[in-house]
């Protein structure tokens, strides 16, 4: 665990007027992580991402990206960071190629030599290598998304910051992007993905941070969050006999739902052997783990885009 930090914030706070969008946030992303930044819509994810990249200025707190303070060192840091923030954007009247060429030329100290190759290579990388010269305004949502990702990858960044990268993609596209991100990560790129799609994060990430109403409520390795709960889930065609046998063995059956049982036990193989020895068939067997959804729902309040009317007394007080 002595890897360098890729992103670190301390006491990061942002007010828009009197609205506190992000509150005392301490992010800790290490190099080599695939970090999933989770939170409902409106929980402050995008504001945080924008602060990391120097687009929005923090009200207070410190940000360090790739070991340098942001936004002060933006000129040195940002060339090593690829990003996609709240959906892709491009100059609509130009082709995807022309867009990437322009974006490549904008970067400080960008060289003209090899620009064409860089652009073509990146287009290949995101599956747009064969795209024609039609303007971006005629692209489908999925193509735009791929182009946005290409713009982020253009300079072979050490850190990728992606906000909702699979928005608008079909299942095949989502799989492509996931494979691409894992491949990049295997090559040493740190990936920071923000999303409200739990399943996506669960399949991709090694570390997870959960944001709720501007506050970090969970930040942990995914493996730890998803540790076994100490229960075994099993299915049997003969649940009554199974319960009776388990009672005899002194195991507690904590849930019973038709032919499916949840049993407190550490070793699934041992439990299986016990039942089979007693002549009871087992056709399903798994170690129960908390799903990321359980973790997130337990840690967060109601959705961040619901604004229930507070009780009147409270309203008067504020």
């Amino acid at each position: 665990m002595s890897r360098d930090t890729a992103i670190r914030t301390q006491g990061l706070t942002k007010y828009f007027g009197r609205f506190e969008a992000v509150s005392d946030l301490s992010l800790d992303v290490r190099e080599g992580d695939v970090y999933g930044f989770l939170g409902a819509n409106g929980s402050g994810k995008t504001t945080t991402v924008r602060m990391l990249l120097g687009l929005v200025l923090a009200t207070s707190g410190e940000i360090e990206v790739l070991g340098r303070p942001m936004p002060r060192s933006g000129r040195e840091v940002l060339p090593h960071v690829g990003s996609m923030i709240e959906g892709p954007a491009a100059y609509a009247h130009l082709s995807g190629r022309a867009n990437l060429t322009l974006f490549d030329a904008m970067a400080p100290r960008s060289r003209r030599t090899g620009r064409k190759d860089r652009v073509e290579e990146t287009l290949d990388r995101v599956g747009l290598g064969g795209v024609d010269e039609r303007p971006v305004k005629n692209y489908s949502l999925g193509m735009r998304q791929r182009l946005g990702l290409a713009a982020a990858l253009l300079r072979k960044p050490r850190l990728l910051v992606l906000d909702e990268p699979t928005n608008g993609l079909d299942p095949q596209g989502i799989r492509d992007i996931r494979a691409l991100l894992l491949e990049l990560n295997a090559d040493g790129t740190t990936v920071f993905v923000s999303s409200h799609l739990l399943a996506e994060i669960e399949q991709l990430c090694t570390r997870v941070g959960v944001l709720d109403r501007g506050r970090m409520v969970v930040q942990e390795e995914l493996a730890v969050l998803r540790a076994p709960t100490g229960r075994i889930l099993l299915g049997t065609p003969d649940p009554d006999a199974a319960i009776a046998q388990l009672d005899r063995l002194g195991r507690s059956v904590e849930q019973h739902d038709g032919r499916r049982l949840a049993v407190r036990a550490a070793d699934a193989a041992e439990l299986n052997a016990e039942l089979v020895r007693a002549g009871i068939g087992v056709d399903e067997l798994s170690v129960e783990r908390r799903s990321l959804e359980d973790v997130v729902l337990a840690a967060t309040s109601a959705g961040n885009d619901t604004f229930a009317r507070p009780p009147r007394a409270v309203q008067d007080a504020s």
């Binding site: 924008r50 990249l53 687009l55 990003s83 923030i85 400080p108």
Partner: protein, 272 residues
């Protein structure tokens, strides 16, 4: 970044459409004059227009005098008004800034691009007007050498060329003033339309105030006060007073509004 902005400008179909439309008016005027031979009497109508019937080579100046008070400032307002607000609305501003392109560098590049647009427009207008003027106008000319100054004396060709370039430079400085105002509004407004209309209303308002005797006290500070002072370059001798005042005034407008644009944009939260 400046090169990128210029390439965007030149590749945009709208740039060329706008220039063609701006160019259409003086061309139409030239054709009408040629067909009817009915020029405005000296001292009436747009500057130089009365002179072009006798000397077609003066038509570029007449064309600029037609374009400068209204068309060119509108086009500049739209172009510069789009600078930041347009990128923000298209969502590309955030991607430009994280390239990273410094915020000051972006503002400078946008202003340079707006000026490039002005130069391009002025050159196209002047060139077309020259062709139109030589081809269609001035057939009544009995002159042998040189052209007539506004004061009635003769100007040699080198003199005329030199003064024409001075006039072009002066007109561009005036447009730089417009661009600076539009750029500032572009960092404030969330839509490029708002920035462009805001700028237009400033110079329309200024032109209106200039006609009012009651605005005597502030008229020398209004942005459009000396816009047409380039006509003085074609007097003999050149009447420098208004030109000098105009240069100082425009430089002040550019400095103030560019500084305001930077002050506002440097610390702005980019949330679109």
């Amino acid at each position: 970044m400046i090169r990128v902005e210029l390439s965007k400008l030149l590749r945009s179909r709208r740039t060329w459409t706008t220039i063609a439309l701006i160019d259409a008016l003086p061309t139409l005027v030239g054709v009408l004059l040629a067909v009817t031979d009915l020029g405005p009497r000296p001292g009436e109508g747009p500057a130089f227009l009365s002179a072009v019937l006798t000397d077609g080579t003066l038509f570029p100046l007449a064309a600029l005098a037609i374009v400068l008070p209204l068309f060119l400032p509108i086009a500049v307002s739209v172009t510069a008004g789009e600078a930041i607000a347009g990128e923000a609305a298209a969502g590309t501003l955030r991607y430009v800034l994280v390239r990273p392109v410094g915020r000051l560098r972006l503002l400078v590049a946008k202003l340079v691009a707006a000026m490039a647009f002005v130069v391009l427009t002025v050159l196209v207008v002047a060139a077309t007007a020259y062709v139109v003027g030589v081809a269609l106008l001035g057939d009544q000319s009995v002159q042998v050498v040189g052209s007539t100054s506004v004061s009635g004396t003769s100007l040699s060709t080198p003199e005329l060329v030199g003064r024409t370039f001075l006039a072009l430079g002066y007109a561009m400085l005036c447009m730089l003033g417009v661009a600076a105002i539009a750029l500032f509004l572009s960092t404030v407004a969330s839509s490029s339309l708002g920035a462009a209309l805001g700028t237009m209303s400033i110079f329309v308002g200024s032109s209106l105030l200039l006609t009012l005797d009651a605005s005597e006290a502030i008229r020398d500070y209004l942005p459009t006060r000396y816009w047409l002072a380039f006509v003085d370059l074609f007097r003999d001798p050149i009447l420098w007073r208004d030109l000098q005042a105009g240069v100082i005034l425009q430089v002040a407008y550019v400095a103030v509004f560019f500084a305001a644009a930077w002050a506002n944009f440097a610390t702005k939260d980019v949330t679109d």
